[in-house]
Symmetry: C2
Subunit: 277 residues, 2 copies
Amino acid sequence: MSLETVSENRCFGGTQGVYTHQSGATGTPMTFGLFLPEAAQHGRVPVLWYLSGLTCTHENAMTKAAAQGWCAEAGIAIVFPDTSPRGDDVADDDAYDLGKGAGFYVNATRDPWKPHFRMWDYVVDELPDLIGDNFAIDRDAMGITGHSMGGHGALTIAMTHPDRYASVSAFAPIANPSQSDWGRKQLSAYLGEDEDTWRAHDSSILMTERGYPGEVLIDQGSDDQFLDLLKPETLAQAMMARRQPGQLRMQPGYDHSYFFVQSFMADHVMWHAERLL
Amino acid sequence: MSLETVSENRCFGGTQGVYTHQSGATGTPMTFGLFLPEAAQHGRVPVLWYLSGLTCTHENAMTKAAAQGWCAEAGIAIVFPDTSPRGDDVADDDAYDLGKGAGFYVNATRDPWKPHFRMWDYVVDELPDLIGDNFAIDRDAMGITGHSMGGHGALTIAMTHPDRYASVSAFAPIANPSQSDWGRKQLSAYLGEDEDTWRAHDSSILMTERGYPGEVLIDQGSDDQFLDLLKPETLAQAMMARRQPGQLRMQPGYDHSYFFVQSFMADHVMWHAERLL
């Protein structure tokens, strides 16, 4: 798989790069951001996956989450994948929360989404291989986090593949999509009406059925304007019922914005670094 | 002067606000960002002015400079003014570097710019009064910094009013605009062809003639794509000739982007905090 460099900027002694490649998973060109700390010049470094939320591209967190400084200090890389396939021949919907920018980190099985909306395979399999082959990252030391729809992706991916992700956290995740307007519409569109197929993509259900072998860190703002859609209470109940090790922190006064995300980014990066280094 | 709240987001324990007001200086509505740290709930705090570069609004640095966390830690506020007047009745130019988004922090004396392009008065007089009247900031503990065109503004304002600004720094400032394509066009448009009127807005000239009574901190990336336009060598020569206390740091590998700015934001915030607290 060949990789094209869109841009590289020096940042906190390392490099913030943006790259494109033809994706086998989505059948489209895909763009991602990758920050490599200075430590990557001397050997392979652990890598943190940051999955973004609805409407985002690879760029949002890369420019607004203020993660690079902490990753530089910790000596870990951070990847910012896009949130869906892009291009004129990719299906879309007028709604902001379906289609482009709203891949929900699943492999679609229904038309018109099926041909390109394979973000699960892209994030879980293809992009780690690509990055591992082309950059000094350690495939055996990976953590995953994300915001909103990306928090949903991080939790479901980590609970499905705990062997591959040694650490997991989330910012204001969509925590119970099979029971939310942020989820029911998308999962029925991408996966069909059989709700059994949705269970693998609902972190509250996965928490009940599997949990995660390590500690889980979740931050949620108390003034999040989307609390009704995120449903942290369902995930909290599942975590407590399971005795899941970890922390679910309700942060007073914070909303759903990147001002919230950047406020706790240091905690999350250090959380992952402690478990990956 | 009445103030309207556009948004307020909790951020690092404080509040990132965006506000609009009718400006007497520019004769237009103006929008600015203001981060108040938690410390401002207990008394007036020092305030750092961050002036942005060409094409920017109040929003760029507010979302991309990663300053709030450091300001929260230091207990200082930071203001993000816009870079020009806005609105349908405000003169503009097709070029990105003249007119809207390119106020250059001067008071225009020439048409069509004269009626609204009074960013010097806006930043130096009006906005400090407005913020001092409405928020818990200490008008007697102000520092100023900025990037590119904003670095030019910060240096020229601080050297003109050292009594008002107890600290100054700049990121990749336009350092000698009277001898640069980033300057000659704008200063002739805004101030006219008499180059004597430009001298008050050229930090290399001000450095030669006045200097600054405190230490000056300037960061410049060695791989800045605009080095020919910024002319740091002229300012450096003037600083050395004057024996100006301070630091001019050439940062290897960094370019002109906000990845550069955020990489050294902690140093700048702490530089100001040490002098303001």
